[in-house]
Each structure stands twice: as structure tokens, then as C-alpha cells.
Subunit: 310 residues, 2 copies
């Protein structure tokens, strides 16, 4: 009898203002579900079907992050198992919410469970990163790590992947708006400067340090004044419709901070209550509604758990 | 009758590896003592004498950081008091241990006490920074803040000066060697690049964040692997005799990290015990002894208190 399991991995927000390529967090909201089946009648990985992607994700296991991650995992542990994947996209594609990382995190977690956990969750990270690198060009773990492990994480270097789990203030809530316009991650990354002024860099590293201090001391005011971005936001915000207006409106509605999620087009905000997160998301949405740009909003808590069985 | 008070302010280590212009700490070691006297027979500031500086510090109140800081303080509070300062330099001049900040911190703290504390310690910081700016050219608070307030601090921006007091692991000790060669701070600063690669900046801001996490979680191993420097050390270490050898020897003797203190020539190391700090300081000293370069070593704890009455 074949063994089957379904795993959910959450959407994630990365590039948290000053913490470009460094901070990321999982959200209590949408995510991807991957159903994996072990079938010993063959060896390797097959993707049986993908739903919720409007036919845009490849069934080819060498071009799909879930397929790539599972193949890398099987190679690493030297398994000759046959794996059939069914991917259910429950989150927007190319949204800046880590959809490619989520399906890879869900898939590799599912297969690890089915094979009786030869590796720890943390040890699955390199496969998720590898899958993202294969399709996106740049190795970064700030979506992969929180989708796999949950929480608010600090990522350093990549070989070996090093992820620190930061404390999350109890009163911290997020709001996200995803305007349905498309931004290509690789292109967006290329638009960033190769060099930045040392003075700007100093502001950023003082602020990432202060962000961690704020998280440890439950100081939302400090979190608010630390989450500034002098590097990515000035460049990338230009390609997100109504960005300045959305940010202004979020802050005016009480958000502690507001910035681009990943490389966009999603925009996230932090708030100090559930009601404010709801209100902020509504205000952000209303700006896109006014311009007849379809958008989706999410709000709630930072998700403590990463990929897990459903 | 004239009122007199003496205040000690500690030497400080700044530019802590990844935390260039951001982190600083006070040391349980040398410092400056300033004796201040209120004399209502005149208005303004006089420096009566300076000892321990081999005649190198100016008695001119407009050229001496202690004189400049006290004048700025008196102007701010609108006092017409006459202040006489006697400065006792108990730490090396131009050593990279914040001597100019220490005498200003001691002086302004003394006068604030004598005038019955119109300002809090934290509010004295702008005057110390102003005095350093007047003589050095660049506003930075990473020596001024720990000398005035003590502890391990995180400094952000400068207007308004914003200083966060970080927790210090109980088992953390420092070692410092001061080789008696001279390096000019302004010149040393000019040698740094105006721009740095974004990739380098990301490593630094991930590491300053990890440093704060390590301090909060008492994780000396993480502190050790976070205190890396890809910006100042490669440039500035070249002008410090035997730098590479000293660092190598410190790490080999068990130091958690080793880097330049301020803009040099002093070199600091962190250790996980008093004995190791002593041993590391001896090893560092032996390298200068071998080359007949005079040097002084200090080792001990990070000093909790800043400027205080003696």
C-alpha cells in the first residue's frame, strides 16, 4: 500500500525593511499544500497535478521548486523511492510572499515525514534554497527558512545555512496587501545597486541590531523606528502601483511600519493590535479598489509553526 | 565657598567588528578624571591644568574636548557659572580607546552634578558628541555614549542621539593591547571606502543583528561568529604594526573575537573567562615586546557604570 501525507507550508514576508536578505517571517494566512505519495513501483519524482496556479507552474520536476527540492533531498539521503506530488497552490504566484519557497518547503517536509524523518526540519533548508536558486538565480533563505521553520527568523550566509529564530512580541500583528500586478524577482533584484554608501549601510546595520533588541524587549515603538529601508524600497517601490499612497495610508491608520514584501508587489505592515491590522489592510485595499486593481489582503499573527502535516 | 567634585569616565572600545560606528563598550580599566570647581567670580570655563598627557592636550577651552563640552552644556542650560577644570589623563592619548570622549564625559558629568543635575546623564551626550566633532570632524557617539553611560551600547543616528543599552553576558571579558604608535583618527577614517558592495553590507547587517541576539541569549559562540568585519579591518589593520599576527595569536589563545578598537592602534579581544583574557593580553603584548614596540595591556569586564563621582 502506498503511503500518502499532506503538508501545508505558510506564505512568508521577507526583506523586512532594514533587514534586506536577512529577516523573514511566516504568516498565519495562506500557504501551499503538497500531497506526497511514496510509490515503490518507480524511482524518482513525478508531479501528478498542480491546482490553484491557473496553469502557470510547470509539471516538469526539473523546473518546479517542489520537484527540484524533493529530488535534491532524495539524492542527499541516497533514497531510490518513487515520489508522486500533488501541489495545491493556496497563495498567489509571484506575489512577493514566497510561493516558490512554500511549495518546496511543503514537498520536502512531506517526503521527509513519509521516509520516517531521516533529517531534521532545519536540515531540509538547503534543498528549499537549492530549488529557489534553480529557478530564481540568487540563493537566499529569507523566504525558505520561515516557510519551513515558522516564526520571525534571521538568516546569515548560505553555506552552511544559518538561521536564528527571533522572539516575537505578543502584541505584534501583520497586514499584507497583494495587488494583482506582476513583478519578476530576478529583474527586480538586478535593479538594486551593486554598491551602497557606507553611511547608508551603517544606518541599516544599526537598525537591524535595534530591530533584534526591540523583538527581545517587546518594544514596538523601537521596532517601528528601526524598520527603515534606504536601499531596496527607494528602487523597488517605483514598480509597485500606488506604493507611496498605500504606505502613507497604512502609517496614518496606525501601522508601526510598512514596506515591500520580498521584491513585491505585495506590501506588508506591522500593527500593535488585530483591529489595527484589519483596519490597515482595509485602507490599503481601498486604494487599489479605487483604481480598479484587483487585490487580496491578509492580516493576523506571525505564524509560529512552519511546514506541518494537515 | 567654591564647590568642587571629581568625576571618572572610562576608556571605551568602539567599532566592534561588524558594528562599525554602531557598537561600543566601556571597560573596567583606565579612564580620565576631571576635577571641576564652580567659581562664581567669573563666567565661562577655564582649564587650570592637564596632567598625564605629556603636554600634548591644549589648555585652550575651545580646543579641548572637556572645555568644549562644558561650554556647550552651560550655554544649553543658560548658566553663567564660572567653571575651573583640572584634567587628569589616566589613559593613553590617540590610542583608539576614546580618550577625547572620556575627558569630555567626565567634565560635563562633573559640572552637571555641581549644578545639581539639571540634566539626566543621557541628555549630556550631545555635548560630548559636539566636543568630539569640534576636534575630529565626524560626529559619532560610539565612544561618547559608553564613556558617559557605561555598558555595551548600540548607537543610532545622531540627531537626536539615540543610545540603546544592550545586555552583557556574565561570562564575557575583554583584553586590549595598546601599542604605542600613533594613528590619526581623521586620516584613518578618510582611508575607508565611501561605498561598499551591497553583498558586504548585507553580511554586516545580518551580523550586527546576530550580535544583539547573542548578547540577549548569552550565546558566546554566536557572538564569536557574528563579530566579523569586512569593511574597516581590511583597510585599517594595515597601519597597525603586527596586526595580523596579534589577531592570530589572540584567536589561537582562545579569544572569541579580535578586532581594532576605534580606529586603532589599540586592538581588543573578547574572551569567555578572566584567565583567558589575561592570557590573550599577555600573548598580544609578547608580539610587540619581541619587536621592541612599547605597549600597554588591559583586561577585565565590560564596565557597567559610565562617568561617576570618585
Amino acid at each position: 500500500m502506498n503511503k500518502t501525507i499532506s503538508v501545508f507550508a505558510p506564505a512568508t514576508v521577507s526583506n523586512i525593511a532594514c533587514g534586506f536578505d536577512t529577516f523573514g517571517f511566516a504568516i498565519d494566512g495562506p500557504g501551499d499544500v503538497v500531497k506526497a505519495t511514496i510509490d515503490m513501483s518507480f524511482s524518482g519524482v513525478k508531479i501528478l497535478k498542480i491546482s490553484g496556479d491557473d496553469g502557470r507552474l510547470p509539471l516538469d520536476v526539473n523546473k518546479n521548486t517542489a520537484g527540484i527540492a524533493v529530488q535534491a533531498f532524495l539524492n542527499k539521503i541516497g533514497s531510490r523511492a518513487g515520489v508522486i506530488l500533488e501541489i495545491e497552490n493556496k497563495m498567489p504566484f509571484a506575489s512577493g510572499l514566497g510561493s516558490s519557497a512554500a511549495s518546496a518547503a511543503a514537498a520536502v517536509t512531506a517526503v521527509n515525514f513519509l521516509l520516517e524523518k531521516p533529517l531534521k526540519s532545519m536540515e531540509l533548508l538547503p534543498f528549499v534554497i537549492e530549488s529557489e536558486t534553480s529557478i530564481g538565480g540568487t540563493a537566499h533563505a529569507d523566504n525558505a527558512a520561515p516557510s519551513l521553520l515558522g516564526g520571525f527568523v534571521l538568516v546569515r550566509y548560505l553555506e552552511p545555512a544559518d538561521v536564528l529564530n527571533l522572539p516575537v512580541p505578543t502584541g505584534l500583528y501583520y497586514a499584507v496587501v497583494h495587488p494583482q500586478v506582476e513583478i519578476n524577482t530576478s529583474e527586480s533584484r538586478q535593479a538594486l545597486p551593486g554598491n551602497i554608501p557606507l553611511k547608508t549601510a551603517i544606518k541599516h546595520w544599526a537598525n537591524t541590531a535595534a530591530t533584534v533588541h526591540a523583538l527581545h524587549t517587546n518594544n514596538l515603538e523601537m521596532l517601528s523606528n528601526s524598520l527603515q529601508d534606504f536601499v531596496a524600497e527607494p528602487v523597488r517601490s517605483k514598480s509597485i502601483p500606488h506604493y507611496d499612497q498605500v504606505k502613507k495610508s497604512a502609517i496614518k491608520s496606525g501601522a508601526l511600519a510598512c514596506n515591500i514584501s520580498g521584491s513585491g508587489p505585495s506590501i506588508f505592515a506591522f500593527c500593535d493590535s488585530f483591529d489595527k491590522a484589519k483596519k490597515v489592510s482595509e485602507k490599503m485595499k481601498s486604494i487599489y479598489d479605487d483604481d480598479e486593481i484587483a487585490c487580496t489582503v491578509y492580516y493576523g499573527k506571525i505564524r509560529k509553526n512552519g511546514a506541518e502535516i494537515v
